[in-house]
Symmetry: D2
Subunit: 150 residues, 4 copies
Protein backbone atom coordinates (compact mmCIF):
# COMPACT_ATOMS: atom_id res chain seq x y z
CA UNK A 1 0.00 0.00 0.00
CA UNK A 2 1.18 3.48 -0.85
CA UNK A 3 0.09 4.65 2.63
CA UNK A 4 2.78 2.47 4.23
CA UNK A 5 5.48 4.03 2.06
CA UNK A 6 4.65 7.59 3.11
CA UNK A 7 3.97 7.49 6.84
CA UNK A 8 3.07 11.13 7.54
CA UNK A 9 1.31 11.85 4.27
CA UNK A 10 -1.88 12.87 6.09
CA UNK A 11 -0.12 14.89 8.76
CA UNK A 12 -0.27 14.16 12.51
CA UNK A 13 -2.63 14.75 15.41
CA UNK A 14 -0.91 15.78 18.64
CA UNK A 15 -2.62 17.17 21.74
CA UNK A 16 -5.85 17.48 19.81
CA UNK A 17 -4.31 19.58 17.04
CA UNK A 18 -3.92 18.26 13.52
CA UNK A 19 -0.96 19.62 11.60
CA UNK A 20 0.23 18.86 8.10
CA UNK A 21 2.82 20.28 5.70
CA UNK A 22 1.88 21.98 2.44
CA UNK A 23 4.53 22.95 -0.06
CA UNK A 24 3.97 26.05 -2.18
CA UNK A 25 4.27 25.13 -5.86
CA UNK A 26 3.98 27.33 -8.97
CA UNK A 27 0.28 26.41 -9.19
CA UNK A 28 -0.30 28.13 -5.83
CA UNK A 29 1.36 31.42 -6.70
CA UNK A 30 0.23 34.35 -8.82
CA UNK A 31 1.78 37.15 -10.83
CA UNK A 32 2.17 39.16 -7.62
CA UNK A 33 4.89 36.66 -6.67
CA UNK A 34 2.92 35.38 -3.67
CA UNK A 35 0.45 32.61 -2.88
CA UNK A 36 -2.90 33.35 -4.56
CA UNK A 37 -5.35 34.14 -1.75
CA UNK A 38 -7.96 31.47 -2.58
CA UNK A 39 -5.30 28.77 -2.29
CA UNK A 40 -5.31 29.16 1.51
CA UNK A 41 -8.99 28.22 1.46
CA UNK A 42 -8.02 25.11 -0.53
CA UNK A 43 -5.14 24.32 1.83
CA UNK A 44 -7.58 24.39 4.75
CA UNK A 45 -9.91 21.98 3.00
CA UNK A 46 -7.02 19.57 2.40
CA UNK A 47 -6.15 19.78 6.09
CA UNK A 48 -9.73 19.14 7.24
CA UNK A 49 -9.90 16.11 4.91
CA UNK A 50 -6.67 14.67 6.26
CA UNK A 51 -7.65 15.39 9.85
CA UNK A 52 -10.88 13.43 9.29
CA UNK A 53 -8.85 10.69 7.62
CA UNK A 54 -6.57 10.35 10.66
CA UNK A 55 -9.66 10.23 12.87
CA UNK A 56 -10.83 7.26 10.81
CA UNK A 57 -13.57 9.21 9.01
CA UNK A 58 -13.41 8.65 5.26
CA UNK A 59 -15.44 11.18 3.32
CA UNK A 60 -15.85 8.93 0.33
CA UNK A 61 -17.30 6.23 2.63
CA UNK A 62 -19.60 8.33 4.79
CA UNK A 63 -22.72 7.15 3.00
CA UNK A 64 -25.53 9.67 3.33
CA UNK A 65 -23.58 12.09 5.54
CA UNK A 66 -21.83 15.06 3.91
CA UNK A 67 -19.84 17.92 5.37
CA UNK A 68 -20.23 21.26 3.62
CA UNK A 69 -18.69 24.59 4.50
CA UNK A 70 -21.44 27.01 5.53
CA UNK A 71 -19.40 29.98 6.73
CA UNK A 72 -15.76 30.95 6.66
CA UNK A 73 -14.10 34.02 8.14
CA UNK A 74 -10.68 34.46 6.62
CA UNK A 75 -7.80 36.69 7.69
CA UNK A 76 -4.91 37.03 5.27
CA UNK A 77 -2.03 38.10 7.50
CA UNK A 78 1.27 37.47 5.76
CA UNK A 79 2.24 36.38 2.25
CA UNK A 80 3.84 33.04 1.52
CA UNK A 81 5.96 32.44 -1.57
CA UNK A 82 7.12 29.79 -4.02
CA UNK A 83 8.98 26.89 -2.36
CA UNK A 84 7.83 27.80 1.17
CA UNK A 85 6.89 24.83 3.31
CA UNK A 86 3.72 25.77 5.18
CA UNK A 87 2.07 23.97 8.06
CA UNK A 88 -1.69 23.94 8.44
CA UNK A 89 -3.04 23.54 11.98
CA UNK A 90 -6.61 22.42 12.50
CA UNK A 91 -8.51 22.55 15.80
CA UNK A 92 -12.06 21.52 16.61
CA UNK A 93 -13.63 24.43 18.49
CA UNK A 94 -17.14 23.23 19.14
CA UNK A 95 -20.02 20.98 18.14
CA UNK A 96 -23.63 21.90 17.40
CA UNK A 97 -26.42 19.48 16.59
CA UNK A 98 -25.92 19.78 12.87
CA UNK A 99 -22.61 21.56 12.59
CA UNK A 100 -18.96 21.59 13.60
CA UNK A 101 -16.86 24.68 14.38
CA UNK A 102 -13.24 24.47 13.30
CA UNK A 103 -10.31 26.86 13.64
CA UNK A 104 -7.45 26.71 11.13
CA UNK A 105 -4.12 28.45 10.70
CA UNK A 106 -1.55 28.34 7.95
CA UNK A 107 1.88 28.85 9.49
CA UNK A 108 5.26 29.71 8.00
CA UNK A 109 8.31 29.51 10.26
CA UNK A 110 6.19 30.14 13.34
CA UNK A 111 4.26 33.07 11.84
CA UNK A 112 0.59 32.90 10.89
CA UNK A 113 0.02 33.60 7.18
CA UNK A 114 -3.70 32.85 7.19
CA UNK A 115 -6.34 32.18 9.80
CA UNK A 116 -9.90 30.97 9.31
CA UNK A 117 -12.89 30.12 11.44
CA UNK A 118 -14.93 27.55 9.58
CA UNK A 119 -18.50 26.43 10.20
CA UNK A 120 -19.10 23.04 8.64
CA UNK A 121 -22.70 21.86 8.30
CA UNK A 122 -23.81 18.26 8.21
CA UNK A 123 -26.18 17.58 5.32
CA UNK A 124 -27.76 14.55 3.68
CA UNK A 125 -27.42 13.53 0.05
CA UNK A 126 -29.89 16.21 -1.03
CA UNK A 127 -28.11 18.97 0.84
CA UNK A 128 -30.65 19.17 3.70
CA UNK A 129 -29.32 19.73 7.23
CA UNK A 130 -29.19 16.59 9.35
CA UNK A 131 -28.03 15.77 12.88
CA UNK A 132 -24.40 14.77 13.23
CA UNK A 133 -24.46 10.96 13.70
CA UNK A 134 -23.57 10.04 17.26
CA UNK A 135 -20.47 8.00 16.34
CA UNK A 136 -18.99 11.00 14.53
CA UNK A 137 -19.99 13.34 17.37
CA UNK A 138 -18.16 11.09 19.80
CA UNK A 139 -15.02 11.11 17.68
CA UNK A 140 -15.08 14.91 17.55
CA UNK A 141 -15.73 15.19 21.29
CA UNK A 142 -12.73 12.93 21.86
CA UNK A 143 -10.38 15.21 19.96
CA UNK A 144 -11.92 18.31 21.56
CA UNK A 145 -11.30 16.86 25.00
CA UNK A 146 -7.73 15.77 24.29
CA UNK A 147 -6.89 19.37 23.42
CA UNK A 148 -8.59 20.84 26.46
CA UNK A 149 -6.48 18.66 28.74
CA UNK A 150 -3.22 20.09 27.48
CA UNK B 1 -8.64 44.09 -30.79
CA UNK B 2 -10.23 41.12 -29.10
CA UNK B 3 -12.03 43.50 -26.70
CA UNK B 4 -14.09 44.91 -29.59
CA UNK B 5 -15.24 41.44 -30.58
CA UNK B 6 -16.62 40.59 -27.16
CA UNK B 7 -18.37 43.69 -25.89
CA UNK B 8 -19.52 42.55 -22.43
CA UNK B 9 -16.55 40.34 -21.63
CA UNK B 10 -15.80 42.32 -18.45
CA UNK B 11 -19.43 42.59 -17.35
CA UNK B 12 -21.33 45.85 -16.86
CA UNK B 13 -21.66 48.58 -14.25
CA UNK B 14 -25.22 49.80 -13.74
CA UNK B 15 -26.41 52.00 -10.87
CA UNK B 16 -23.08 51.56 -9.15
CA UNK B 17 -23.26 47.77 -9.19
CA UNK B 18 -20.90 45.69 -11.30
CA UNK B 19 -22.29 42.42 -12.58
CA UNK B 20 -20.70 39.77 -14.75
CA UNK B 21 -21.57 36.26 -15.86
CA UNK B 22 -19.55 33.21 -14.83
CA UNK B 23 -20.24 29.82 -16.33
CA UNK B 24 -19.68 26.73 -14.20
CA UNK B 25 -17.29 24.36 -15.98
CA UNK B 26 -16.01 20.94 -14.92
CA UNK B 27 -12.94 22.63 -13.40
CA UNK B 28 -15.23 24.42 -10.92
CA UNK B 29 -17.08 21.36 -9.67
CA UNK B 30 -16.07 18.57 -7.32
CA UNK B 31 -16.95 14.95 -6.66
CA UNK B 32 -19.93 16.13 -4.58
CA UNK B 33 -21.48 17.21 -7.90
CA UNK B 34 -21.48 20.88 -6.92
CA UNK B 35 -19.21 23.91 -7.28
CA UNK B 36 -16.10 23.47 -5.09
CA UNK B 37 -16.40 26.05 -2.31
CA UNK B 38 -13.09 27.84 -2.91
CA UNK B 39 -14.14 28.57 -6.49
CA UNK B 40 -16.60 31.21 -5.24
CA UNK B 41 -13.63 33.03 -3.72
CA UNK B 42 -11.96 32.90 -7.14
CA UNK B 43 -15.12 34.05 -8.92
CA UNK B 44 -15.23 37.10 -6.64
CA UNK B 45 -11.64 37.97 -7.48
CA UNK B 46 -12.41 37.76 -11.19
CA UNK B 47 -15.34 40.10 -10.65
CA UNK B 48 -13.31 42.62 -8.66
CA UNK B 49 -10.65 42.60 -11.40
CA UNK B 50 -13.22 43.22 -14.13
CA UNK B 51 -14.98 45.88 -12.09
CA UNK B 52 -11.66 47.72 -11.73
CA UNK B 53 -11.05 47.23 -15.45
CA UNK B 54 -14.38 48.87 -16.34
CA UNK B 55 -13.52 51.73 -13.99
CA UNK B 56 -10.34 52.22 -16.01
CA UNK B 57 -8.05 50.81 -13.33
CA UNK B 58 -5.65 48.22 -14.79
CA UNK B 59 -3.98 46.13 -12.12
CA UNK B 60 -1.03 45.27 -14.31
CA UNK B 61 -0.42 49.00 -14.86
CA UNK B 62 -0.91 50.32 -11.34
CA UNK B 63 2.81 50.76 -10.77
CA UNK B 64 3.65 50.65 -7.08
CA UNK B 65 0.03 50.28 -5.91
CA UNK B 66 -1.28 46.80 -5.14
CA UNK B 67 -4.62 45.60 -3.85
CA UNK B 68 -4.51 42.62 -1.53
CA UNK B 69 -7.36 40.88 0.24
CA UNK B 70 -6.96 41.33 3.99
CA UNK B 71 -10.21 39.88 5.29
CA UNK B 72 -13.08 37.95 3.76
CA UNK B 73 -16.27 36.77 5.43
CA UNK B 74 -17.90 34.12 3.28
CA UNK B 75 -21.40 32.64 3.46
CA UNK B 76 -22.06 29.58 1.34
CA UNK B 77 -25.83 29.61 0.94
CA UNK B 78 -26.86 27.43 -1.98
CA UNK B 79 -24.98 25.04 -4.27
CA UNK B 80 -24.45 25.74 -7.95
CA UNK B 81 -23.82 22.95 -10.45
CA UNK B 82 -22.15 22.15 -13.76
CA UNK B 83 -23.40 24.30 -16.67
CA UNK B 84 -25.09 26.87 -14.40
CA UNK B 85 -24.65 30.46 -15.52
CA UNK B 86 -23.90 32.50 -12.42
CA UNK B 87 -23.86 36.26 -12.05
CA UNK B 88 -21.45 37.95 -9.67
CA UNK B 89 -22.52 41.32 -8.26
CA UNK B 90 -19.92 43.64 -6.79
CA UNK B 91 -20.66 46.74 -4.70
CA UNK B 92 -18.28 49.23 -3.10
CA UNK B 93 -19.39 49.62 0.50
CA UNK B 94 -16.89 52.08 1.91
CA UNK B 95 -13.43 53.60 1.74
CA UNK B 96 -10.79 53.86 4.45
CA UNK B 97 -7.44 55.61 4.14
CA UNK B 98 -5.63 52.43 3.13
CA UNK B 99 -8.45 50.05 2.39
CA UNK B 100 -11.62 49.46 0.42
CA UNK B 101 -14.70 47.58 1.65
CA UNK B 102 -16.51 45.55 -0.99
CA UNK B 103 -19.66 43.41 -0.91
CA UNK B 104 -20.06 40.57 -3.39
CA UNK B 105 -22.78 38.07 -4.22
CA UNK B 106 -22.85 35.11 -6.57
CA UNK B 107 -26.41 34.74 -7.91
CA UNK B 108 -28.16 31.90 -9.70
CA UNK B 109 -31.59 32.60 -11.15
CA UNK B 110 -32.23 35.33 -8.62
CA UNK B 111 -31.04 33.32 -5.61
CA UNK B 112 -27.83 34.04 -3.73
CA UNK B 113 -25.41 31.08 -3.77
CA UNK B 114 -22.55 32.86 -2.06
CA UNK B 115 -22.06 36.17 -0.29
CA UNK B 116 -18.81 37.77 0.84
CA UNK B 117 -17.70 40.93 2.58
CA UNK B 118 -14.20 41.70 1.44
CA UNK B 119 -11.65 44.08 2.93
CA UNK B 120 -9.03 44.98 0.36
CA UNK B 121 -5.86 46.69 1.58
CA UNK B 122 -3.69 49.02 -0.46
CA UNK B 123 -0.03 48.09 -0.25
CA UNK B 124 3.21 49.09 -1.97
CA UNK B 125 5.56 46.78 -3.84
CA UNK B 126 6.96 45.42 -0.58
CA UNK B 127 3.54 44.66 0.87
CA UNK B 128 3.52 47.63 3.28
CA UNK B 129 0.22 49.50 3.77
CA UNK B 130 -0.02 52.76 1.86
CA UNK B 131 -2.70 55.43 1.41
CA UNK B 132 -5.07 54.92 -1.48
CA UNK B 133 -3.90 57.37 -4.20
CA UNK B 134 -6.38 60.24 -4.53
CA UNK B 135 -7.23 59.50 -8.20
CA UNK B 136 -8.26 55.97 -7.29
CA UNK B 137 -10.16 57.19 -4.22
CA UNK B 138 -12.11 59.58 -6.43
CA UNK B 139 -13.02 56.82 -8.85
CA UNK B 140 -14.28 54.66 -5.99
CA UNK B 141 -16.22 57.57 -4.46
CA UNK B 142 -17.84 58.12 -7.85
CA UNK B 143 -19.17 54.59 -8.05
CA UNK B 144 -20.20 54.65 -4.37
CA UNK B 145 -22.21 57.83 -4.98
CA UNK B 146 -23.86 56.56 -8.16
CA UNK B 147 -25.26 53.65 -6.18
CA UNK B 148 -26.46 55.78 -3.30
CA UNK B 149 -28.50 57.92 -5.70
CA UNK B 150 -30.60 55.00 -6.87
CA UNK C 1 -32.72 34.14 -17.95
CA UNK C 2 -29.10 35.07 -17.42
CA UNK C 3 -28.28 33.68 -20.88
CA UNK C 4 -30.34 36.43 -22.53
CA UNK C 5 -28.43 39.12 -20.67
CA UNK C 6 -25.03 37.94 -21.88
CA UNK C 7 -25.45 37.03 -25.54
CA UNK C 8 -21.95 35.78 -26.41
CA UNK C 9 -21.13 34.19 -23.07
CA UNK C 10 -20.49 30.80 -24.73
CA UNK C 11 -18.55 32.22 -27.66
CA UNK C 12 -19.55 31.88 -31.32
CA UNK C 13 -19.35 29.29 -34.09
CA UNK C 14 -18.42 30.70 -37.49
CA UNK C 15 -17.38 28.69 -40.53
CA UNK C 16 -17.18 25.58 -38.42
CA UNK C 17 -14.77 27.11 -35.90
CA UNK C 18 -15.81 27.85 -32.35
CA UNK C 19 -14.11 30.81 -30.74
CA UNK C 20 -14.53 32.31 -27.27
CA UNK C 21 -12.75 34.91 -25.16
CA UNK C 22 -10.90 34.06 -21.97
CA UNK C 23 -9.55 36.77 -19.72
CA UNK C 24 -6.35 36.11 -17.78
CA UNK C 25 -6.99 36.71 -14.06
CA UNK C 26 -4.61 36.45 -11.10
CA UNK C 27 -5.78 32.86 -10.56
CA UNK C 28 -4.35 31.93 -13.98
CA UNK C 29 -0.89 33.37 -13.44
CA UNK C 30 2.08 32.16 -11.44
CA UNK C 31 5.14 33.61 -9.73
CA UNK C 32 6.93 33.62 -13.10
CA UNK C 33 4.58 36.46 -14.06
CA UNK C 34 2.95 34.41 -16.83
CA UNK C 35 -0.05 32.13 -17.27
CA UNK C 36 0.56 28.84 -15.40
CA UNK C 37 0.95 26.16 -18.07
CA UNK C 38 -1.83 23.83 -16.88
CA UNK C 39 -4.34 26.69 -17.18
CA UNK C 40 -4.21 26.37 -21.00
CA UNK C 41 -5.43 22.81 -20.61
CA UNK C 42 -8.31 24.14 -18.51
CA UNK C 43 -9.05 26.92 -21.01
CA UNK C 44 -9.37 24.30 -23.75
CA UNK C 45 -11.83 22.28 -21.68
CA UNK C 46 -13.96 25.40 -21.12
CA UNK C 47 -13.94 26.00 -24.88
CA UNK C 48 -14.94 22.42 -25.72
CA UNK C 49 -17.79 22.65 -23.20
CA UNK C 50 -19.07 25.89 -24.68
CA UNK C 51 -18.69 24.61 -28.23
CA UNK C 52 -20.84 21.60 -27.31
CA UNK C 53 -23.32 23.95 -25.62
CA UNK C 54 -23.69 26.04 -28.77
CA UNK C 55 -24.19 22.83 -30.75
CA UNK C 56 -27.09 22.04 -28.43
CA UNK C 57 -25.22 19.29 -26.57
CA UNK C 58 -25.52 19.75 -22.79
CA UNK C 59 -23.00 17.65 -20.91
CA UNK C 60 -25.06 17.62 -17.73
CA UNK C 61 -28.02 16.23 -19.73
CA UNK C 62 -26.25 13.64 -21.86
CA UNK C 63 -27.53 10.76 -19.76
CA UNK C 64 -25.26 7.74 -20.07
CA UNK C 65 -22.87 9.33 -22.57
CA UNK C 66 -19.67 10.93 -21.27
CA UNK C 67 -16.79 12.59 -23.05
CA UNK C 68 -13.37 12.05 -21.51
CA UNK C 69 -10.00 13.26 -22.71
CA UNK C 70 -7.88 10.26 -23.70
CA UNK C 71 -4.85 11.95 -25.24
CA UNK C 72 -3.61 15.49 -25.50
CA UNK C 73 -0.52 16.80 -27.28
CA UNK C 74 0.28 20.28 -26.04
CA UNK C 75 2.64 22.90 -27.46
CA UNK C 76 3.36 25.91 -25.28
CA UNK C 77 4.49 28.54 -27.78
CA UNK C 78 4.23 31.99 -26.24
CA UNK C 79 3.47 33.26 -22.75
CA UNK C 80 0.31 35.18 -21.93
CA UNK C 81 0.11 37.53 -18.95
CA UNK C 82 -2.27 39.06 -16.42
CA UNK C 83 -5.14 41.04 -18.00
CA UNK C 84 -4.57 39.58 -21.49
CA UNK C 85 -7.75 38.76 -23.37
CA UNK C 86 -7.18 35.40 -25.05
CA UNK C 87 -9.30 33.72 -27.70
CA UNK C 88 -9.64 29.95 -27.83
CA UNK C 89 -10.39 28.41 -31.21
CA UNK C 90 -11.81 24.90 -31.42
CA UNK C 91 -12.05 22.79 -34.58
CA UNK C 92 -13.41 19.28 -35.06
CA UNK C 93 -10.77 17.37 -37.00
CA UNK C 94 -12.28 13.92 -37.31
CA UNK C 95 -14.65 11.30 -35.96
CA UNK C 96 -13.97 7.69 -35.03
CA UNK C 97 -16.52 5.17 -33.86
CA UNK C 98 -15.91 5.90 -30.21
CA UNK C 99 -13.88 9.06 -30.30
CA UNK C 100 -13.65 12.63 -31.57
CA UNK C 101 -10.48 14.40 -32.69
CA UNK C 102 -10.32 18.10 -31.86
CA UNK C 103 -7.75 20.80 -32.57
CA UNK C 104 -7.51 23.81 -30.27
CA UNK C 105 -5.49 27.00 -30.18
CA UNK C 106 -5.21 29.77 -27.62
CA UNK C 107 -4.57 33.04 -29.43
CA UNK C 108 -3.33 36.44 -28.24
CA UNK C 109 -3.48 39.34 -30.69
CA UNK C 110 -3.21 36.98 -33.64
CA UNK C 111 -0.36 34.91 -32.22
CA UNK C 112 -0.73 31.34 -31.00
CA UNK C 113 0.20 30.96 -27.32
CA UNK C 114 -0.84 27.32 -27.01
CA UNK C 115 -1.89 24.57 -29.39
CA UNK C 116 -3.33 21.16 -28.56
CA UNK C 117 -4.55 18.11 -30.41
CA UNK C 118 -7.13 16.40 -28.25
CA UNK C 119 -8.55 12.90 -28.53
CA UNK C 120 -11.86 12.69 -26.71
CA UNK C 121 -13.29 9.24 -26.03
CA UNK C 122 -16.95 8.42 -25.63
CA UNK C 123 -17.60 6.32 -22.53
CA UNK C 124 -20.60 5.11 -20.59
CA UNK C 125 -21.34 5.76 -16.92
CA UNK C 126 -18.78 3.16 -15.85
CA UNK C 127 -16.04 4.59 -18.03
CA UNK C 128 -16.24 1.85 -20.70
CA UNK C 129 -15.83 2.89 -24.35
CA UNK C 130 -19.10 3.13 -26.27
CA UNK C 131 -20.07 4.12 -29.79
CA UNK C 132 -20.82 7.79 -30.33
CA UNK C 133 -24.65 8.01 -30.54
CA UNK C 134 -25.76 8.72 -34.12
CA UNK C 135 -27.48 12.04 -33.28
CA UNK C 136 -24.25 13.38 -31.78
CA UNK C 137 -22.20 12.02 -34.68
CA UNK C 138 -24.48 13.86 -37.10
CA UNK C 139 -24.07 17.11 -35.22
CA UNK C 140 -20.28 16.74 -35.32
CA UNK C 141 -20.33 15.84 -39.04
CA UNK C 142 -22.37 18.97 -39.67
CA UNK C 143 -19.80 21.25 -38.10
CA UNK C 144 -16.94 19.36 -39.77
CA UNK C 145 -18.57 19.88 -43.17
CA UNK C 146 -19.34 23.56 -42.62
CA UNK C 147 -15.62 24.15 -42.05
CA UNK C 148 -14.52 22.16 -45.07
CA UNK C 149 -16.70 24.30 -47.33
CA UNK C 150 -14.90 27.48 -46.39
CA UNK D 1 12.68 23.96 10.42
CA UNK D 2 9.47 22.52 9.04
CA UNK D 3 11.54 20.38 6.62
CA UNK D 4 12.97 18.42 9.53
CA UNK D 5 9.51 17.63 10.85
CA UNK D 6 8.30 16.12 7.59
CA UNK D 7 11.17 14.02 6.24
CA UNK D 8 9.71 12.76 2.96
CA UNK D 9 7.67 15.82 2.10
CA UNK D 10 9.48 16.21 -1.24
CA UNK D 11 9.39 12.51 -2.10
CA UNK D 12 12.46 10.33 -2.65
CA UNK D 13 14.96 9.61 -5.40
CA UNK D 14 15.87 5.94 -5.75
CA UNK D 15 17.77 4.39 -8.65
CA UNK D 16 17.47 7.60 -10.58
CA UNK D 17 13.69 7.75 -10.29
CA UNK D 18 11.95 10.39 -8.21
CA UNK D 19 8.68 9.35 -6.64
CA UNK D 20 6.31 11.29 -4.41
CA UNK D 21 2.82 10.78 -3.02
CA UNK D 22 -0.12 12.96 -3.99
CA UNK D 23 -3.44 12.64 -2.21
CA UNK D 24 -6.62 13.30 -4.19
CA UNK D 25 -8.67 15.99 -2.42
CA UNK D 26 -12.05 17.48 -3.34
CA UNK D 27 -10.24 20.30 -5.19
CA UNK D 28 -8.81 17.71 -7.60
CA UNK D 29 -12.09 16.04 -8.52
CA UNK D 30 -14.95 17.12 -10.75
CA UNK D 31 -18.67 16.48 -11.10
CA UNK D 32 -17.87 13.30 -13.03
CA UNK D 33 -16.68 11.87 -9.70
CA UNK D 34 -13.09 11.51 -10.92
CA UNK D 35 -9.88 13.55 -10.91
CA UNK D 36 -10.23 16.52 -13.29
CA UNK D 37 -7.89 15.86 -16.21
CA UNK D 38 -5.81 19.05 -15.96
CA UNK D 39 -4.92 18.17 -12.36
CA UNK D 40 -2.57 15.43 -13.61
CA UNK D 41 -0.63 18.14 -15.45
CA UNK D 42 -0.40 20.04 -12.16
CA UNK D 43 0.64 16.91 -10.23
CA UNK D 44 3.50 16.42 -12.70
CA UNK D 45 4.68 19.97 -12.18
CA UNK D 46 4.70 19.47 -8.41
CA UNK D 47 6.76 16.32 -8.90
CA UNK D 48 9.28 18.02 -11.19
CA UNK D 49 9.65 20.84 -8.65
CA UNK D 50 10.27 18.42 -5.79
CA UNK D 51 12.64 16.32 -7.86
CA UNK D 52 14.70 19.45 -8.59
CA UNK D 53 14.52 20.35 -4.90
CA UNK D 54 15.96 16.96 -3.87
CA UNK D 55 18.69 17.43 -6.47
CA UNK D 56 19.59 20.68 -4.72
CA UNK D 57 18.15 22.92 -7.45
CA UNK D 58 15.87 25.59 -5.99
CA UNK D 59 13.72 27.25 -8.63
CA UNK D 60 13.23 30.40 -6.60
CA UNK D 61 17.03 30.75 -6.35
CA UNK D 62 18.06 29.92 -9.90
CA UNK D 63 18.72 33.56 -10.77
CA UNK D 64 18.41 34.14 -14.48
CA UNK D 65 17.71 30.51 -15.39
CA UNK D 66 14.09 29.42 -15.82
CA UNK D 67 12.56 26.10 -16.78
CA UNK D 68 9.43 26.31 -18.90
CA UNK D 69 7.37 23.48 -20.35
CA UNK D 70 7.58 23.61 -24.14
CA UNK D 71 5.79 20.41 -25.10
CA UNK D 72 3.76 17.81 -23.27
CA UNK D 73 2.22 14.61 -24.62
CA UNK D 74 -0.37 13.34 -22.19
CA UNK D 75 -2.12 9.97 -22.02
CA UNK D 76 -5.06 9.69 -19.67
CA UNK D 77 -5.29 5.97 -19.00
CA UNK D 78 -7.32 5.32 -15.87
CA UNK D 79 -9.41 7.52 -13.58
CA UNK D 80 -8.41 8.24 -10.00
CA UNK D 81 -10.95 9.27 -7.37
CA UNK D 82 -11.40 11.20 -4.15
CA UNK D 83 -9.15 9.98 -1.30
CA UNK D 84 -6.88 7.95 -3.60
CA UNK D 85 -3.20 8.16 -2.75
CA UNK D 86 -1.33 8.53 -6.03
CA UNK D 87 2.39 8.25 -6.66
CA UNK D 88 4.09 10.35 -9.29
CA UNK D 89 7.26 8.93 -10.84
CA UNK D 90 9.66 11.24 -12.65
CA UNK D 91 12.55 10.11 -14.87
CA UNK D 92 15.08 12.18 -16.78
CA UNK D 93 15.14 10.80 -20.33
CA UNK D 94 17.66 13.01 -22.07
CA UNK D 95 19.45 16.33 -22.25
CA UNK D 96 19.72 18.77 -25.14
CA UNK D 97 21.74 21.97 -25.18
CA UNK D 98 18.79 24.09 -24.11
CA UNK D 99 16.25 21.52 -23.00
CA UNK D 100 15.56 18.55 -20.78
CA UNK D 101 13.37 15.55 -21.66
CA UNK D 102 11.41 14.09 -18.78
CA UNK D 103 9.03 11.13 -18.51
CA UNK D 104 6.35 11.10 -15.83
CA UNK D 105 3.71 8.67 -14.63
CA UNK D 106 0.93 8.98 -12.10
CA UNK D 107 0.39 5.58 -10.49
CA UNK D 108 -2.45 4.18 -8.40
CA UNK D 109 -1.90 0.80 -6.74
CA UNK D 110 0.59 -0.22 -9.40
CA UNK D 111 -1.54 0.92 -12.35
CA UNK D 112 -0.71 3.93 -14.50
CA UNK D 113 -3.47 6.58 -14.44
CA UNK D 114 -1.60 9.17 -16.46
CA UNK D 115 1.60 9.28 -18.47
CA UNK D 116 3.37 12.30 -19.95
CA UNK D 117 6.47 13.05 -21.95
CA UNK D 118 7.59 16.54 -21.11
CA UNK D 119 10.05 18.78 -22.94
CA UNK D 120 11.32 21.49 -20.62
CA UNK D 121 13.16 24.42 -22.18
CA UNK D 122 15.78 26.52 -20.44
CA UNK D 123 15.12 30.24 -20.87
CA UNK D 124 16.48 33.47 -19.46
CA UNK D 125 14.51 36.12 -17.60
CA UNK D 126 13.02 37.41 -20.86
CA UNK D 127 11.90 33.99 -22.01
CA UNK D 128 14.68 33.56 -24.60
CA UNK D 129 16.26 30.10 -24.97
CA UNK D 130 19.62 29.73 -23.26
CA UNK D 131 22.10 26.91 -22.79
CA UNK D 132 21.61 24.77 -19.71
CA UNK D 133 24.33 25.90 -17.26
CA UNK D 134 27.03 23.24 -16.93
CA UNK D 135 26.50 22.69 -13.19
CA UNK D 136 22.84 21.88 -13.77
CA UNK D 137 23.68 19.69 -16.77
CA UNK D 138 26.08 17.72 -14.61
CA UNK D 139 23.45 17.18 -11.94
CA UNK D 140 21.01 15.91 -14.56
CA UNK D 141 23.66 13.66 -16.14
CA UNK D 142 24.31 12.23 -12.69
CA UNK D 143 20.72 11.20 -12.16
CA UNK D 144 20.44 9.92 -15.75
CA UNK D 145 23.48 7.72 -15.21
CA UNK D 146 22.34 6.38 -11.84
CA UNK D 147 19.19 5.10 -13.52
CA UNK D 148 21.00 3.54 -16.43
CA UNK D 149 23.15 1.53 -14.08
CA UNK D 150 20.17 -0.24 -12.52
Amino acid sequence: MAEDQWPDVSGRIQNGIHSMPIRVYYEDTDAGGIVYHARYVVFCERARSDCLRLLGIHQSALGGVHFVVRRMTCDFLKSARLDDLLEVETRFLGLGGARVEIGQQVMLNGNTCFRADVTVAVVDGRGRPMRLPETLAETFRGILKSRNLT
